[in-house]
Subunit: 289 residues, 2 copies
């Protein structure tokens, strides 16, 4: 089964828990709204690609890890969009969840998605309990304290903070988890896969900064020009558009070089380089063409 | 080691993750504020008591389950107190977390506590991976969809809802999880332990309703008279104080009868009956004395 189908099916099965008897129907709707239709699903696809490179001997476990990471990503988007943070009006081309369902259900849907991530992981990894603890650890580290995305977001509440660093860490955390969990799900040592995640996370952050200045809102599914307006760190602002594009290319090359020796390393390298082309905003691709 | 010490030590080790390098200091403070000093720790003590009744052959695993349940309880208090829900000013005799640290950190601390619960469970159960999946399932069911505490809270966002039922379910969920997880942590079949949790959860709800009408705010650590003010279901309002006290006694007796056959069943029965006396508000105990 191709990766995209595996991911959507596992996510659908997870979110379907909300459709079971006893669940408040609007919460169930809110969960679907938060998860479908998705963005590029780049983190779970990365997770499955690494699992594949490591032999993917336990596909259900890898699917669980990939889905858990995407569910946590969706949860973070829902909570980040809340009025007390970004108060975003739109997300993935639709109204942000709290605009569509109200603030209480946005808080609760985010909470439910976090729980669902761990339930899905445990459920899917049931045939490989020996891998479960490590997977919960990897995924938990990416989201929680001391350095996961929740901690990254909390730096905005500190009187003095190196925002550039936290932003990089926050984006990087789930990319690191995607790579390490993909390896751990396939029974491989996850540690050597950290560097790939760190570089891809940084590349994605630079691409996101570029999109924020160069893309059109339609392409992004959320308002553009937000970073400058909020005084947030941006590679595009620091390096200029041309400099940021160059930095992106360097990071992708470094990521390809960071792929550890594994049965499918060559295939993964090709994939990383081809997928990286999609990171550049279309409007810049047009300019370059 | 006595149960109370085991619980506080495991909770402290969990929350201490926020004190590690890289964590925003105010988020770390907020986590301590949310978890210490605790209330009666009734759910984790119940979890350990059931594990003990089942032989407690894996104390670290039982500690993990107990701590996970308490961390999730603390998370739910923090999020329930948010302005978009109860907008509570105080909790456990201190300012509610969002009053002390602001709304963003209250959202994030709640999220971090949910993640921490699963990390703690996985970390503590590492020597018994075969029990981990079941434990994550039990704990996840108690919090998430379709019928966990998040779902219970989401009924308030439905146009038509049987609020009395949701309230019972919401309180009951963590009591059921405490009993079932205690059994599962000790390698016993958790299913027969559900009934004990359901009855104790209902007893606790009745006791809480009684406290809301009869206790003084100092004793409760939060404002009293909230249920009537918010039009929430209350056994004390439905049955009168005397009727509610009687109902509480019936539920405690039913709980004691529901304890499944197990090595420590008699001891647990004695404990349930003696602990139940603490459920009655002091002002009512004085009246009865």
């Amino acid at each position: 089964m191709v990766a995209g189908t595996r991911i959507e099916q596992t996510l659908l099965a997870a979110v379907h828990r909300g459709d079971l008897p006893g669940c408040p129907p609007r919460l169930a709707e809110a969960l679907h709204h938060a998860v479908f239709p998705g963005g590029a699903r780049i983190r779970p696809r990365l997770c499955l690609a690494v699992a594949h490179a490591c032999g993917d001997d336990a596909p259900a476990t890898a699917d669980g890890a990939a889905a858990a990471i995407e569910l946590l990503h969706c949860a973070s988007l829902v909570h980040d969009d809340l009025p007390c943070f970004d108060d975003a009006a739109t997300r993935r081309g639709k109204p942000a969840l709290h605009r569509a369902f109200g603030e209480p259900l946005a808080v609760l849907a985010g909470d439910a998605l976090i729980v669902l991530a761990f339930q899905t992981l445990a459920h899917q990894a049931v045939a490989h309990p020996d891998r479960m603890g490590r997977l919960v650890g990897i995924v938990g580290d990416a989201v929680g304290v001391p350095r996961g995305i929740v901690a990254g977001q909390a730096w905005e509440s500190e009187p003095e903070a190196a925002l550039a660093e936290y932003q990089r860490e926050k984006t990087g955390a789930l990319f690191v988890a995607a790579c390490m969990a993909g390896a751990a799900a396939a029974g491989a040592d996850p540690a050597p896969w950290r560097a790939l995640g760190e570089r891809l996370g940084e590349a994605y952050q630079v691409a996101d900064d570029l999109k924020d200045v160069a893309a059109e809102a339609d392409e992004l599914g959320k308002p553009t020009g937000q970073d400058v307006r909020r005084g947030r760190p941006s590679a595009a602002a620091e390096l200029g558009i041309e400099g940021a594009v160059k930095r992106l290319e360097q990071l992708v090359a470094a990521a390809a070089d960071a792929i550890p020796a594994s049965p499918g390393a060559d295939e993964l390298r090709t994939l990383v380089l081809s997928e990286a082309k999609r990171l550049r905003p279309k409007s810049l691709a047009r300019t370059a063409a």
